[in-house]
């Protein structure tokens, strides 16, 4: 049984259907990419998993539990943490306080400290800026902080929403390197990306989302070589 399983998920914004019967799964140890164009429903899928919205149909199972109707603030305690699109940091808090917010529910100060050290190891830039207000960081640093903050909850599943959006090419490279490193430490990752090429390179498996439906799935390599995907998303 997979770690995370979405079965036949629908999503509604008012009367607009943003997702139609989305069925995806993430296994232990995997990097799974969700690619697709703007408005395909990638972010909506993550918001639904995180409990920020609840699906009218379908079910979400995580770690053997049904979390379809679980409110957002309880999801992170179960082990899913999201680094949301647009980073969504707490701009008027210091870097270190943003990281502490990531560990909001944790009651093991020693473990939190250990994870903090690990985040600083992953992102040395953040260590130099612990007392800076998050709103004054550069885009790349903000993205690092958003990922670091998500890691502070000690997730069993990490979800990254557009981690490379708006970053300089060299930083994009760094971010994907870090995605690999985090995964190598044993954390499964559900990755949403517009940069399909990069995403498919790091992903073990991937799903292609089009206007709210999954239209294609396969291993990262298969999709990289698929003519449809190449034409639509890789610009080849």
């Amino acid at each position: 049984m997979a770690l995370l399983e979405l079965t036949g998920i629908d999503a509604l914004y008012g009367r607009v259907r943003a997702l139609r019967g989305v069925t995806i799964a993430v296994d232990q140890g995997e990097v799974v990419a969700l690619i697709g164009s703007n408005g395909a429903g990638k972010t909506t899928t993550l918001r639904t998993i995180s409990g920020l919205m609840h699906p009218p149909n379908g079910s979400i199972m995580f770690d053997g539990k049904d979390i379809t109707r679980t409110p957002a603030h309880k999801i992170v305690g179960l082990g899913i943490c999201q680094s949301p699109e647009g980073r969504r940091l707490f701009p008027r808090m210091q870097v270190i306080d943003n990281l502490r917010m990531g560990a909001f529910l944790r009651k093991d100060p020693a473990g939190v400290q250990k994870d903090m050290d690990r985040v600083f190891e992953l992102f040395p830039r953040l260590k130099e800026r612990t007392t800076q207000l998050a709103g004054t960081l550069s885009g790349g640093e903000q993205q690092m902080l958003a990922i670091g903050r998500a890691l502070m909850s000690k997730p069993k599943l990490l979800m990254l929403d557009e981690p490379s959006l708006g970053l300089a090419p060299i930083l994009v490279e760094t971010i994907f390197q870090i995605v690999r490193e985090i995964n190598a430490q044993g954390i499964p990752i559900l990755l949403v990306e517009q940069n399909a090429h990069k995403a498919l390179e790091v992903a073990h498996r991937a799903y292609v989302l089009e206007t709210g439906s999954i239209v294609k799935t396969g291993s990262g390599k298969e999709l990289l070589n698929s003519p449809d995907v190449q034409r639509a998303y890789l610009g080849i």
Binding site: S50, G51, L52, P71, A72, H73, K74, I75, V76, G77, C81, Q82, P84, R88, L89, F90, P91, R92, M93, D97, R100, M101, G102, F104, L105, L133, G135, T136, L137, G139, Q142, R149, S153
Partner: protein, 351 residues
Amino acid sequence: MVSSVANARTRLLAGSRGKLLNATLFLIIAIAVIILATKVATLGPAYFVQILVYGLANGSIFALIALGYTMVYGIVELINFAHGDVFTLGGFISLWLLPTFGVTEGGSVSGAGLILPLLAILVISMVACAVVNVTIERVAYRPLRHAPRLTPLITAVGMSFVLEGVMYLWRGPFNLHYPNVLPTAGIELGGANGPAIGFKDLAVIAIAIVLMVALSLFVERTKLGKAMRATAQDRDAAQLMGIDINRTIAATFFIGALLAGAGGMIFGLYYNTITFDQGFTAGLVAFTAAVFGGIGNIQGAALGGLVIGMIQSLSDGYFDTAWTQVLIFAILVLVLVFRPTGILGMRVPEK
């Protein structure tokens, strides 16, 4: 909206008409300061000190109310018009409780013996107001959280009238006498009948300072305080961190009303009169203080309250009480035009 105001202001200040406006404004302020200075000089320093202390006491009460406005605005972007009436309610509940605890004017309980009953009444009134405010949030605001912003604003005005109506029915439309139980003694500054700093003034200032320090420690240090700050800055992100935003928002209304309730009782003890609709004006003035300091900013609200209290007291003491409200709301307009984010408004860019 803030940026469009800022643009309009830049345009206004750039033109020659803007320069004229600036000059006129400067002239008016200069004249006011000169008149004030001459009056201060003629009436002597002792009187001035007394006015300053009045201002501080006055401002402390405004600050206590302003904090609730600013905290609620910071977290749900709603101007809780009922807040001023929660303040009045604090006065009414404590007035009702005074005889129950044996505190009456010239009664048997006096001196140091007053401290415990007054503290008990203070705490009960604060909690009662907090419960009322949380109920208002639950019933009138939470169901409208995703409605257009104007909708909860209208319900807030409605809740304000409901509270005033309840207090009207309870005690009638009169100016109610609030027992003058605090010691009237004070420090004389100039002869037996001259200016003096009352024990009352100092007590009011002291209680307000204690409450404000407690609040800032709470917001800075506790887990719930951190949850409140996080929710104010990004509600979705706060939920993703595991923060129960419904609970956090309710807590904000609770704490805001604790302070307003305390303000209501202190107001009664200080001025010895309360009316069912005093919260309307007091609320507006406190709201002005919150805007003045930068709405959503806790230190700003405290500072704004003190500054407005001081302005009121200077205007009352050296000009005419009839001018006071004109002055305060003229300041509100000026702050909104020239510095829409207030003196201590948020200055961190949000990329």
